[in-house]
């Protein structure tokens, strides 16, 4: 069973590939018939291509090609109106379609011109992948209107209501545009998805049409440096004494005074009937007074000026370092190049 399926699949794959080849081959043969003015045989092949019953896969471009040659063949046969209809069908599918003067007759070209006047379409060609230096190079766009129209062409961040206008005015046919990579705010376009939005009003029919071509921009610049993180509690010294610090000063003063008395009492030799307690009292009183003064001072002045100054120095050093980092990053961003690539839409 499995073997049978595999054999079937192997037989079908070349058939599918051949179908695509057959459409291209049919169109190639039709073009050769057209060049030889063998339009009857050409029509048979082209109708086979555009027929819904065609057994072959027909791509969008192949269908546009078929409509173009169908229109031309019908014009050669004298069926100009029918030819114009097929030309319009081709133009509606691809406004960029055109007849090469060296391959088509003046009558065909005239009928195609009529079709373009009757059909209002705008086109925006997909951008070509490129990497540009916006300081010296430009991004190239191609837009088109099938006939005279008032056009406005903008580059927008995908989904944004407005962008930077790269063209505004009268247009007829294809137009090459250049963009310097700057958005309306004067800044280089950020990395992201963008659209080339074409909006136009026909000068002949007053119809409005629009077209979009999506593309992506990636800024390419040397790696940026990280700024220093904000100083945390572990990086800064305490700027105020805790409330208990004042009590500690009091205890230290009293403790030192007690130490003087202990020295005169416990360390002295009792047999000597020492009277140096009065001398020790001098230091005990002084130390206790300093402790009490320190307690009062500590309660009223909890700030630690030395730590405040050190913290200010650290903050200033960090700000200075970060300013240097920001400056270096700016210099690197100023060297950014834009990597342009076509995109499918507003998102991946």
């Amino acid at each position: 069973m499995i073997r049978t399926s595999l054999v079937g699949a192997l037989l079908l794959i070349p058939g599918a590939l051949a179908a695509q080849d057959n459409t291209a081959e049919l169109l190639d043969r039709a073009a050769r018939f057209h060049a030889d003015l063998d339009v009857e045989r050409e029509l048979v092949l082209l109708r086979q291509v555009i027929s819904p019953n065609s057994p072959f896969i027909v791509t969008h471009e192949q269908r546009v090609f078929a409509y173009k040659y169908l229109g031309a063949a019908l014009v050669v046969l004298g069926q100009v109106d029918s030819g114009v209809v097929y030309f319009r069908a081709a133009l509606e599918r691809d406004p960029f379609v055109d007849l090469e003067p060296q391959k088509f007759t003046p009558a065909e070209l005239a009928a195609f011109a009529t079709a373009k006047r009757l059909t209002f379409g705008l086109g925006a060609r997909q951008v070509t992948p490129a990497t540009i230096d916006p300081r010296t190079e430009r991004v190239n766009f191609t837009v088109l209107s099938t006939h005279a129209a008032t056009l406005q062409v903008e580059v927008r961040a995908a989904g944004a209501p407005a962008g930077v206008v790269v063209f505004s005015g009268e247009n007829d046919g294809p137009r090459e545009l250049q963009w310097d990579g700057l958005m309306a705010n004067g800044h280089l376009a950020e990395s992201g998805r963008y659209e080339l939005f074409v909006l136009g009003v026909s000068r002949l029919t007053q119809r409005t049409d629009s077209a979009r071509a999506y593309f992506s921009i990636q800024q390419d610049y040397p790696a940026l440096e990280d700024t220093l993180p904000a100083l945390g509690a572990a990086d800064l010294l305490p700027e105020q004494h805790p409330p208990s610090a004042a009590r500690a000063e009091l205890f230290k003063g009293l403790g030192l005074g007690a130490a003087a008395l202990v020295i005169s009492g416990a360390l002295a030799n009792g047999d000597l009937e020492g009277g140096s307690g009065k001398l020790a009292a001098g230091v005990a009183i002084t130390a206790s007074a300093v402790g009490i003064a320190g307690f009062i001072h500590g309660r009223r002045h909890r700030e630690i000026p030395a730590n405040v100054a050190i913290n200010a120095q650290r903050q200033a050093a960090r700000a200075s370092a970060n300013a240097a980092v920001v400056q270096r990053n700016k210099e690197r961003l100023a060297q950014a190049r834009l990597v342009i690539a076509p995109a499918a839409g507003v998102g991946p």
Binding site: E249, K252, G253, L256, A259, A260, I263, S264, L267, A268, N269, D271, L272, E273, G274, G275, S276, L279, A280, G282, V283, A284, T286, A287, V290, G291, A293, G294, F295, H297, G298, A306
Partner: protein, 213 residues
């Protein structure tokens, strides 16, 4: 030998120029009490002294201190009046920001109209300084043991201790302070007689300092 070792350690810092010098002068009221063969002889008097301290590098100090004073016996007997003059050298090494271990010799001369007594001692101990109340105010505690004491005419004391407690304020150049000092010496019993001595003083001092960064 210890002093030589200290100097040997201090010389490199000295050559690097990290030097601070402090000179101080003090006055005080002192008690000198002696009990010998059961007789207590208390004496007191004013003392005057001065010290020169060099801070060598961030860790080492070396100080020379001289002191003298005349002591009048409380009994009124003029023979018990005496003079004391002493010189001590002491070197220190900071082992913690607040703690310095110290050691050094002391020479003392106790004299009256009839006799002269020479003291030589080696002090070993330490000094602790803790801030009290204000950034420039410190409490200072000192304690010394004197393992080697030689007194002319007397045996080596069994107990030889010294301690002091004080408060000091130090500005950029000037310092002020007060300290209580006590020295205790208990000599061994000889022929049934014991001898004890004690020296206590309350000193007030003023200092000026100079440092080379």
């Amino acid at each position: 030998m210890k002093i030589l070792a200290f100097i040997w350690l201090a010389v490199p810092a000295l050559l690097q120029g990290q030097l601070g010098v402090q000179g101080s002068f003090y006055v005080g009221q002192a008690d000198h009490r002696v009990r010998d063969a059961g007789v207590l002889v208390p004496a007191s008097g004013a003392v005057f002294g001065g010290a020169l301290t060099a801070n060598v590098g961030p860790r080492f100090t070396i100080a020379a201190e001289g002191m003298s004073g005349h002591f009048t016996a409380a009994s009124g007997a003029s023979l018990d009046d005496h003079d004391i003059a002493q010189l001590q050298l002491i070197g220190g090494m900071k082992v913690r920001p607040w703690l310095t271990v110290q050691a050094g010799p002391l020479w003392r001369n106790v004299s009256n109209d009839l006799a002269r007594q020479h003291w030589t001692a080696l002090r070993v101990g330490g000094e602790a300084r803790v801030p009290i109340g204000f950034e420039s105010v410190r409490g200072v505690l000192r304690g010394y043991w004197m393992p080697l004491v030689s007194v002319s005419g007397l045996s080596r004391p069994d107990v030889a201790l010294a301690a002091s407690a004080g408060v000091e304020w130090r500005g950029r150049r000037i310092g002020l302070g007060t300290r209580y000092v006590l020295e205790r010496y208990d000599f061994p019993v000889t022929a049934g007689n014991s001898r004890s001595e004690e020296f206590a003083a309350l000193q007030a001092w003023v200092s000026a300092s100079w440092s080379k960064p």
